[in-house]
Structure formats: structure tokens, C-alpha cells
């Protein structure tokens, strides 16, 4: 029997360190092609022979190989891409797509959690409040950011800044990228669960548009704590899950090394999540993943954000809030992507059951 309270296990994931030059295990062929190109270039310059035609052929082959690999990624491989050490992080998006970013720090209560960065800036021509989870690049940054695992003060800071944005009618853009909320003694003492719960409740009724984009890891409640809005988009090779594949494997398979099977079963890829209705859009990544072309992926995210904010601004506030509520209320009612994969009209079934239930109920006298 699994231990109570592990069903949303929030273990921060290990950083997968690719063995050489940032290639993942399943990219060996690409690594070989890159080596060959490098070798030919070297030969070309030392011997003065023109290998450019051969190099072009190898590069075409490399692109074809990347396309082949990345169009058939397993769920577990996708998780590895989402955790790639070179994957663009919040700081890249802040640098490349948010103009004039002014960080606003502190939760006004306990401290300033560096794993959640908040502040004002412009995306396109739109003023926005950015709320983003940050993992850090250097070892020092990673430690400062707690490897992207927020504590309660991070969630409280996020909410305080969102309320600030609401007051001045500034739309909110959140960047989701966390292995999960931090499971620590201090986090429990300061009410990790309460902080997340309050964010979920308050975000459902904040009176400005909220756009969320999962750029890497959507780790359970820790990710959800800044994801409740009008639109939730996801990068093609990001993942979003109720529990880490390792945690799920440890509990249901009783063996953490079965993470690949767990990842498959959890349906955590962008394709599956679009079908399940958790996300509204998939933002395509460059050939070979976001880490192979940071500018390209940031540009795609910017385009999506600008367009979506423009759409949402046209919607009346009451409709916006009603749609936001319906989006979350209806999750899981429209489709079943199980073995049969056939959509089932669950809503109608619920209505029917509700009707039966209400006719069954008989008034009972009160006893004092």
C-alpha cells in the first residue's frame, strides 16, 4: 500500500545530464552526423579540399534525422527534452520578449522566493504583469531558485502581484516551469497547500485576462498554482502532469525505474493534453526542440501571447470570467482518450444521473 499523501508527490526531478554535448540518449545518430561534419570541416581547412557539398548533404540528413526523432518522441523522451539543461528558461523569455521588464519582489509577509519571478513589462505593445517560474542556469542561480521548486511565499507573491495587476487593469501572463512545489519542512510550516489553494480560488475570479504558457515542466499542483486562467498553452515538448513519472512509478509500479511506462500512462504530452482539454493550444518548437533554437521558440511564444491577449481583451469581463469557470469545470467531460479512444458525452450522463437522484430524494423530518 502506498503511503498517504504521495499521490501528488512533489519530488524535484533530477537534472538529466546528457552524456556529451547536450545530446540525449536517443539522439546518437545526430551526434554522429555532427561529428562527421566537424571532421570534414577540419579536413577541409587543413588539406584545403572543398567538402561543402558533402557537408550540405550531411546537414540535410541531420535535419531529416532530427525531424524523424522528434516526430516520434515517446512520453518519457518528451520529459527528457522538457528537462534538457539547455532548454530556454524564464530568464530567456524575459530577456528576449519582455521589453522594459521591472521586477517587483517580495510577498510582503515572509520573504522573496526566487523560484517565482514577478514584474511589469511589455509584450508586443501590451503592458503585462509577468509571473514566471525560474530554474536558474548556473549552479548558484539554481540554488537561489531552489531548482524551480517554489515555497509558499512564491505563490503568495504571485497572488499579490496579480491583485496589483487587477487593480490597474493590466493583463497577466504566466510562465509555468517547475518540477513541483517544494516538499520541505518550512514549506509545510508556512502552508504550501493553503497558498496554492488560495491562488487557485483567487485566479478564477481575477478581473483581468490571464494567459499561461507551460514552457518546460508542468509539475503538478506547483504548476497549477499559477496556471488557472483564460488560456493555457504549452510548448510542443513541454509536459504537464499530476505527478512526476518517477513518483507515479514508485507508487503504482512500486519501482521508480519504471518512469517511462508511467510517463506513457499519465498522458502528459502536449498532444494528449490538447485532446483531454487541459490546454487550449500547442506552440510548435523548432526542429530538434526549443534548446536548439532559443530565438525561434521565444518568437513563437511572443506571437501566441500577443494574439491571445488581443483576443481576450475583446471579450467582456463577465463573459471572460464565465468562460474561465466553464473551462475548468468542464475538464474531463468531453473526451476519453483511453484504449478505445472514443469520445463519450459524459455531461449528458451526469444530467441524467442528477435527474434520477433528485426524484429519488424524499424529504426527511429534522431531528434536534
Amino acid at each position: 500500500m502506498a503511503e498517504w499523501g504521495t499521490l501528488t508527490g512533489k519530488m524535484p526531478s533530477q537534472n538529466i545530464s546528457p552524456n556529451n554535448g547536450g545530446y540525449l540518449d536517443f539522439e546518437q545518430k545526430v551526434a554522429e552526423l555532427d561529428d562527421q561534419v566537424k571532421e570534414l570541416r577540419g579536413l577541409g581547412s587543413t588539406k584545403g579540399i572543398d567538402y561543402s557539398a558533402e557537408i550540405r548533404r550531411l546537414q540535410r540528413e541531420r535535419v531529416a534525422e532530427l525531424k524523424r526523432i522528434y516526430s516520434n518522441l515517446t512520453a518519457w523522451q518528451t520529459v527528457q527534452v522538457a528537462r534538457h539543461p539547455d532548454r530556454p528558461l524564464l530568464s530567456d523569455y524575459l530577456n528576449l520578449m519582455v521589453k522594459g521588464f521591472r521586477e517587483l519582489r517580495g510577498d510582503r509577509c515572509f520573504g522573496d522566493d526566487r523560484s517565482i519571478v514577478t514584474g511589469l513589462g511589455r509584450i508586443g505593445r501590451e503592458k503585462v504583469m509577468v509571473i514566471g517560474q525560474n530554474k536558474g542556469k548556473t549552479t548558484k542561480e539554481k540554488v537561489d531558485c531552489n531548482f524551480g521548486c517554489p515555497n509558499p511565499e512564491g505563490y503568495r507573491k504571485a497572488l499579490a502581484k496579480m491583485k496589483f495587476a487587477e487593480k490597474f487593469g493590466i493583463p497577466i501572463v504566466t510562465f509555468v516551469d517547475t518540477p513541483g512545489a517544494y516538499p520541505g519542512i518550512g514549506a509545510e510550516e508556512r502552508g504550501q497547500a493553503q497558498a496554492i489553494a488560495v491562488n487557485l480560488m483567487e485566479m478564477s475570479r481575477i478581473r483581468v485576462p490571464i494567459v499561461s504558457i507551460c514552457i518546460g515542466e508542468g509539475g503538478s499542483g506547483g504548476a497549477l498554482g499559477i496556471s488557472v486562467g483564460d488560456r493555457l498553452a504549452m510548448l510542443q515538448f513541454a509536459y504537464y502532469s499530476v505527478i512526476s513519472p518517477e513518483g507515479c512509478a514508485a507508487i503504482l509500479w512500486r519501482d521508480g525505474s519504471q518512469a517511462a511506462d508511467a510517463a506513457q500512462a499519465l498522458k502528459l504530452t502536449s498532444t494528449d493534453l490538447l485532446k483531454l482539454g487541459l490546454i487550449d493550444a500547442v506552440i510548435p518548437e523548432p526542429v530538434g526542440g526549443a534548446h536548439r533554437n532559443v530565438h525561434d521558440v521565444v518568437h513563437s511564444v511572443e506571437r501566441y501571447t500577443v494574439k491571445t491577449l488581443a483576443d481576450l481583451k475583446r471579450t467582456k469581463m463577465e463573459n471572460l470570467l464565465e468562460n474561465r469557470y466553464k473551462k475548468w469545470r468542464s475538464l474531463g467531460t468531453s473526451v476519453t482518450i483511453g484504449a478505445r479512444g472514443k469520445p463519450r458525452p459524459t455531461k449528458a450522463r451526469i444530467k441524467a444521473v442528477a435527474k434520477v437522484a433528485s426524484t429519488k430524494a424524499r424529504p426527511t423530518p429534522a431531528k434536534v
Binding site: 499523501g5 504521495t6 512545489a181 497547500a193 489553494a197 429519488k360
Partner: protein, 256 residues
């Protein structure tokens, strides 16, 4: 039977007569939803809503040679309950309430689509009939067999409670052993008044997860009801025998 807290040997019947609380040390044993309801409401006053709503296996979840569907069947037999929560209208010392009670013997009281939907239906009912909402939580958290559908129930139930808040409804959240994970991080922590049973495990991450992450022994009494009281996350700890009268009194205070 032996009390896990004080290790006294006890007669099952003595314990049951005592609201399934150890007469020696007041250890509150875990109880199923039906028992809980019988302890809490006026005799025969519970009218269940959405009793037949059953889980739909949105992912077609398979694991270790078995399936989520099979697990549901097994736990239906084990618990006599079709899901991990029962909701309905009831009276507590004559006060009308909408009541939700979680069932720990059905997939560890975890929250999937049905639990989320029932919680929201309970909120809708409470708004419609201007009744207080009382929810007794007992849960291992989100139900991973339903993937993000279960995760989304956290947002959904919290959003429903925002509506209830705007309708100025009274939500009394009762936390029992254990209340953890996605249930704590959503509706269970959003009570206008939060009550806990003595000694209950209440927290976000499971103690084992925390111990494995930080590699430090956890302090005594960590994540108990008393710990939550000390850190300001529950209003009061109430003995099972006083729960009815305490809830009734609080309802009276909040009546318009």
C-alpha cells in the same frame, strides 16, 4: 484490536460505541463515509445526491498488469461505495446543510473527476438553497490514474468555492486523518472555518516524500492537526464526540 497510538488491546464493540475513538487515549480511528455520516447527521436525514456518478477512466490507465477500471471495481467491493465522496442534504442538530464526506476506502479517498464534480454539485446545491456547506475531507490527494483530469479538479473545486464565497455561503471544512496532497491544496484549505480532528495527518507533500527530499528526520508531531493549529492553518481541533454540536453552534453564529 490494538490501538496504534497507545497499544491498548480494545474490544471492537467498545471502540465502535465510542464513535471509533480509543477510550484509553482518544486516538481517532479512520472511518468510512457511511459511518462518518451516521455519526454526524440527524438519524435518517441524509439524502444523497449524484449517488450513481462513477469514474470514467479518461486516460485508459493501465499499470503493472492491471487497470484503473479493475481497481475501481475492487474498491467498490471493498468500500461499498461507488466513489471517494458522498454528497447530499442533511440535518445536523436540526440545521439544514449540504454535506460532503470523503471515503478513504475508495482509492485512498483520492480526488478524480467524480469527486471534483460532486464537490461542485454540492456547492451549487448550497448556493441554490442558501444552505451552509460542510465537507469532511479524508484523502491521499489527487488521483493519478486520471492524470491531469484529476489535477484540474483542484482548480475546478477552488473556482466553485470562489462562487460560493461571492454568494456569501458558509463553508465549514473538516479535516480528518489523513488530508494531504491535491485535496489539501484545494477545497480542504478554503474553509471559512477549518476544523481538524485530533492527531490527523494534514499536509501538502507526504511525510515520506519530504524525508526523502531533504534527507533530514522530520520533527515529532510534524503535519499533525496540532501542528496545523500552531502554524495558523486551522481554527480549532474538535473531538469527534463534539463535532455535531460544534458545527451546529458555528452555523448559528453565521446565520443571517
Amino acid at each position: 484490536m490494538r490501538c496504534p497510538a497507545c497499544e491498548h488491546m480494545l474490544y471492537k464493540r467498545t471502540v465502535e460505541k465510542n464513535l471509533t475513538v480509543c477510550p484509553e487515549c482518544t486516538h481517532h480511528f479512520r472511518i468510512g463515509a457511511a459511518t462518518r455520516i451516521s455519526y454526524l447527521v440527524d438519524d435518517g436525514s441524509f439524502q444523497q445526491i449524484l449517488e450513481d456518478l462513477t469514474a470514467s477512466d479518461p486516460l485508459g490507465f493501465k499499470f503493472r498488469g492491471t487497470t484503473y477500471k479493475q481497481r475501481i471495481k475492487d474498491d467498490e467491493k471493498k468500500s461499498g461505495s461507488k466513489e471517494a465522496m458522498q454528497i447530499g442534504k442533511a440535518f445536523i442538530k436540526g440545521r439544514g446543510v449540504v454535506l460532503g464526506v470523503m471515503e478513504p476506502n475508495f482509492l485512498m479517498g483520492s480526488m478524480g473527476y467524480v469527486v471534483g464534480e460532486k464537490l461542485c454539485a454540492a456547492v451549487d446545491k448550497a448556493i441554490e438553497e442558501s444552505l451552509p456547506l460542510v465537507v469532511v475531507s479524508c484523502s491521499g490527494g489527487a488521483r493519478m490514474h486520471e492524470g491531469v483530469v484529476s489535477l484540474g479538479q483542484m482548480a475546478k473545486t477552488s473556482a466553485a468555492l470562489a462562487k460560493f464565497d461571492e454568494a456569501r455561503g458558509l463553508f465549514i471544512s473538516v479535516l480528518t486523518d489523513p488530508t494531504t496532497g491535491g485535496v489539501t491544496a484545494s477545497f480542504a484549505m478554503l474553509g471559512d472555518i477549518t476544523i481538524a480532528e485530533p492527531g490527523a495527518l494534514i499536509g501538502f507533500a507526504g511525510p515520506r516524500t519530504i524525508a526523502e527530499t531533504i534527507k533530514v528526520e522530520l520533527p515529532e508531531g510534524f503535519q499533525t492537526a496540532e501542528f496545523m493549529l500552531e502554524h495558523g492553518f486551522v481554527d480549532m481541533i474538535v473531538h469527534r464526540k463534539d463535532l455535531r454540536s460544534e458545527i451546529a453552534r458555528l452555523i448559528d453564529y453565521c446565520q443571517k
